[in-house]
């Protein structure tokens, strides 16, 4: 179809303007300049009322529009016979989060894939983007149902906490509900209008709806994030929990932005892995060569998305943890050095499993091209780096020692393994794991091609030099600054480490792009020619992500310990204790199994929706003919 250039440019302008609006307004909102007008709720009056309370140190006596945080007793927590309220909230919240993460992430990369399809005019991208969003549409209603269930459970089992949070966040809760309608409208329009809004201007309208969907979805998540981070790092209230009246400080609390960043990145990684599992499921259940080729390509793309988001994820996590430490030494130590440290070991193991399965998938996928034989000999070296880095990555700070080992060592400290237990070693290890994974990806990209530019040797040498100097820099930063300077530099050294890794990746991609620009294809990629075990690596990726999210969700929430709102509102319910690690791990695992079962159900639904059965001798032929002859109007 011929495009109407004028209108298309007009719509492009709308898109660009909208994007600009989002990107320029976000920092303004974050800097707080936008606060008063938007969430104005008699802020000044309430502030004046609350101030004397804070100054006088006796908040409860203060005259305020808002009371102090409720002081609960055991009787404040309604019970339902045979139901453990904490486990209900725990599981429902986690299930809601899993689905929400998925349905928020999928539109992000669907939007990008659709845009790539528009740019390249390759219909396969459009079809794949549609299939991605199709998977998320059933998950969307499950997200909403679970969100409703979470709300009911909170109101029912923790009424005082709910009413306290609702007092502070009533305005944002109202806008949350409104935005939810907006998101539903955008999503349904985006999905059901996919085939209607095709070609020329219509496609631009469709892409704009996709952009809106992402903007609204992200805002929804940010609002919900503010409620949970308020519970961890409350602001906008005084020591007794009296709300000052301005909702903005409560939203923009200390941990809000770190969680926002971490969740956006993690959602994309998680969403990519779930869609990858869907593609693997379809690949393994398809018998036609074309279908297998399609789902192989889809799985590869989903894995690419998941890994691209996984690579910066440790840094986002590190930023979040640093901020937790900075806000409260107690929470930080409980998290990394106290009871939750052992769960962090499981977390480290799962993250390592993610890297291992991602690399294994890439190695198996190199078999798509016969040209990959050149690179097989390097796989073992990449594996050695990844496994060695992985071992350092999950070495615990506190070792589990038998009495004999304790005696032999003369104490719980290990002179040589002990230093692996702290963050500088782990930061160094994770940077190396990321770089090794990137090398796997580089080899995969080169598998079917031979560079023809005259400076190919110089280009390769430059890349090798880049990696060598980069890795030396990472080691110096990790070992010297990590162990022989004070903690300010220890923590700060992680930033140049990350930058080094990113610089290596970016410059290397640039060199590779120029070097392989007009490369000769020696052995074309044959989509569908991958071993079935590679698809199980995709399943492992999805399962590891799911489990990891559940585990970290529990840890993040659990470090509040016996507080509903840290240092402000105490949890006095019968369950106000930190469960044993085994119990917690069981609940998380059960949650993961329920979620994955529901995901398989969603996959199955999308499978049966494509099946059509034409029953024999079931419908009365005359009736069908009659409708046909009257044009369906009776």
């Amino acid at each position: 179809m011929k495009l109407k250039n004028e209108n298309r440019w007009g719509l492009k302008v709308v898109d660009v303007a909208f994007l600009a609006l989002i990107f320029f307004l976000t920092p303004i909102i974050i800097s707080g300049n936008f606060s008063g007008e938007f969430f104005n709720i008699a802020a000044q009056a309430a502030e004046q009322a609350a101030e004397p309370a804070a100054e006088g140190g006796d908040a409860e006596k203060a005259t305020s529009l808002y009371g102090p945080a409720p002081k609960t007793t055991l009787a404040s927590y309604p019970t339902v016979k045979g139901v453990n309220s904490r486990i209900v909230i725990w599981l429902v919240a986690q299930l809601h989060l899993w689905f929400a993460a998925f349905v928020l992430a999928v539109p992000i990369f669907v939007f990008i894939i659709e845009a790539i399809g528009m740019r390249t005019r390759d219909r396969r991208y459009d079809n794949m983007a549609y299939e991605f969003i199709k998977v998320s549409i059933t998950a969307y209603s499950l997200t909403a149902i679970l969100g409703g269930l979470l709300l009911f459970s909170l109101v029912l089992f923790y009424p005082d906490l709910w009413s306290y949070l609702a007092t502070i966040f009533k305005d944002s809760m109202f806008w949350y509900a409104v935005l939810f309608f907006a998101e539903s409208a955008c999503l349904y329009l985006y999905y059901y209008g996919w085939h209607w809004l095709q070609g020329g201007d219509r496609k631009w309208v469709h892409l704009t709806i996709g952009l809106l969907l992402n903007a609204v979805g992200t805002m929804l998540m940010f609002l919900a994030n503010s409620w949970l981070t308020f519970m961890m790092s409350p602001e906008g209230v005084n020591a007794a929990g009296v709300f000052a009246g301005d909702i903005w400080p409560a939203i923009q609390n200390h941990l809000w932005n770190p969680i926002n960043l971490h969740r956006v990145v993690a959602n994309v990684a998680f969403g990519g892995s779930i869609v990858g599992a869907y593609a693997a499921f379809k690949f393994l259940s398809s018998s036609r060569a074309e279908d297998r080729a399609h789902y192989d390509w889809m799985g590869y793309t989903a894995n690419f998305i998941a890994i691209s988001a996984l690579l910066p994820l440790p840094f986002a996590g590190y930023y979040l943890t640093t901020e937790i430490y900075a806000f409260s030494q107690q929470m930080g130590i409980t998290l990394m050095g106290g009871i939750f440290a052992w769960l962090f070991i499981i977390q480290a193991v799962l993250i390592g499993a993610l890297f291992l399965s991602a690399n294994y998938y890439l190695w198996c996928c190199m078999g798509r091209s016969d040209g990959a034989v050149r690179y097989y000999k390097y796989i073992k070296y990449i594996a050695i780096v990844i496994v060695a880095a992985f071992l350092v990555w999950f070495t615990p700070h506190t070792l589990v020692l038998t009495n004999e080992e304790l005696k032999a060592l003369g104490g719980p400290y290990h002179k040589y393994i002990g230093p692996f237990g702290i963050m500088p070693a782990k930061n160094t290890a994770v940077n190396l794991m990321i770089l090794a994974t990137f090398v796997s990806f580089l080899f995969y990209r080169r598998a079917n091609k031979v560079a023809t530019v005259s400076w190919v040797n110089a280009g390769n040498a430059a890349q090798v030099a880049l990696f060598v100097t980069g890795v030396i820099n990472i080691f110096i930063l990790g070992v010297y600054y990590g162990y022989f300077t004070n903690t300010v530099y220890k923590i700060a050294a992680s930033i140049p480490q990350v930058c080094t890794t990113l610089v290596i990746i970016v410059i290397s991609i640039l060199i590779d792009s120029f070097m392989y620009k007009n490369a000769k294809e020696v052995a074309p990629l044959k989509w569908g020619r991958v071993p079935e075990r590679s698809q199980y690596a995709l399943f492992l990726l999805a399962v590891s992500f799911t489990w990891l999210m559940g585990l970290m969700g529990y840890i993040r929430s659990g470090i509040r310990q016996h507080w509903h709102v840290v240092d402000i509102m105490r949890d006095n319910s019968a369950d106000a204790f930190t469960p044993t690690m085994g119990f917690a791990a069981n609940v998380v695992s059960i949650g993961a199994i329920i979620f994955l079962s529901m995901v398989i159900f969603v996959f199955w639904l999308s499978q049966i929706s494509a099946n059509k059965t034409e029953p024999q001798n079931y419908w009365v032929p005359e009736a069908v003919d009659g409708i046909a002859s009257t044009g369906g109007k009776g």
């Binding site: 106290g338 193991v349 291992l356 190695w363 070792l399 038998t402 719980p412 002990g418 004070n486 016996h562």
Partner: protein, 255 residues
């Protein structure tokens, strides 16, 4: 002669396993904890099998002996032997791991108990998040005075702390062997080098009974030093701990 892939994998795993034991237990004379070695080997096994099965050819070669063992009619005798021995080995391993013993169970001890946000000592309340060592600023303002405080801290340490924590601050004082858990080793990079001075002040002032509920599981036999030392003496001894070990206290502000 080409070594079969399966045998290659087993040889690699054996080299890594005994390599760990050789390096740590023999050369470095510091045993590698069995729990850690098990974890390490689990992932080394995973890594080795991933490398060997990354290509179709490699996978075929790796599983060929196993396939032959199960399918080849000529290997009936060896098949039966393997099928008897394998479950027996698994059973023996399980029995060994689960049988009752007189060994005390291992404890999942945490290195640092989590501190409260505020504490009470010397008749007043301290906010641990904001608390700073009042003598630390002398390091830049009056080095001579700072050194005097460090020396005073050393005296306090030798008179009170070295019995457990050792004269080299390595947790190996004369009483250390009688304590479980053993006293903290301040030379270890994972102890005071990771902590703020306010944390040390809290632990020293409130001692063993100090940690709040949040700090569980925790056991400590450290005396409540606020009953024996002055506030200044505690800050002085903290200066000494960092000065002697060469570590800097954790801080979030830049110098």
């Amino acid at each position: 002669m080409k070594i079969p892939k399966l045998l290659q994998a087993v040889i690699v795993l054996a080299i890594v396993y005994y390599g760990f034991i050789l390096v740590f237990d023999v050369i470095l004379d510091h045993v590698i904890p069995s729990s850690l070695l098990t974890m390490y080997m689990f992932f080394v096994v995973a890594g080795v099998f991933m490398v060997f099965t990354a290509t179709e050819e490699g996978t075929r070669e790796l599983v060929a002996p196993v396939k032959a063992l199960v399918e080849d009619p000529n290997k009936k005798m060896i098949r039966n032997v393997v099928f008897v021995i394998l479950p027996l080995l698994a059973g023996w391993y399980t029995f060994e791991k689960t049988r009752l013993s007189f060994e005390a169970p291992v404890e999942l001890r945490t290195i640092h108990p989590a501190p409260p946000t505020s504490m009470k000592a010397f008749g007043k309340r301290y906010n641990i998040i904001k608390l700073e060592n009042p003598l630390r600023k002398l390091e830049k303002m009056d080095l001579k005075k700072f050194k005097e405080h460090v020396t005073a801290g050393a005296k306090v340490y030798i008179q009170n702390c070295h019995f457990c924590h050792g004269d080299k601050l390595d947790g190996k004082g004369p009483y250390a062997a009688g304590l479980n858990p053993t006293p903290a080793n301040f030379q270890d990079v994972g102890t005071i080098a990771q902590l703020q001075e306010s944390y040390l002040f809290w632990r020293i002032a409130t001692g063993g009974p100090g940690p709040p509920k949040e700090a569980a599981p925790w056991i400590s036999s450290m005396p409540i030093w606020q009953d024996f030392l002055s506030e200044e003496e505690i800050w002085q001894v903290i200066l000494f701990l960092y000065d002697y070990t060469g570590y800097q206290p954790r801080s979030f502000g830049h110098e």
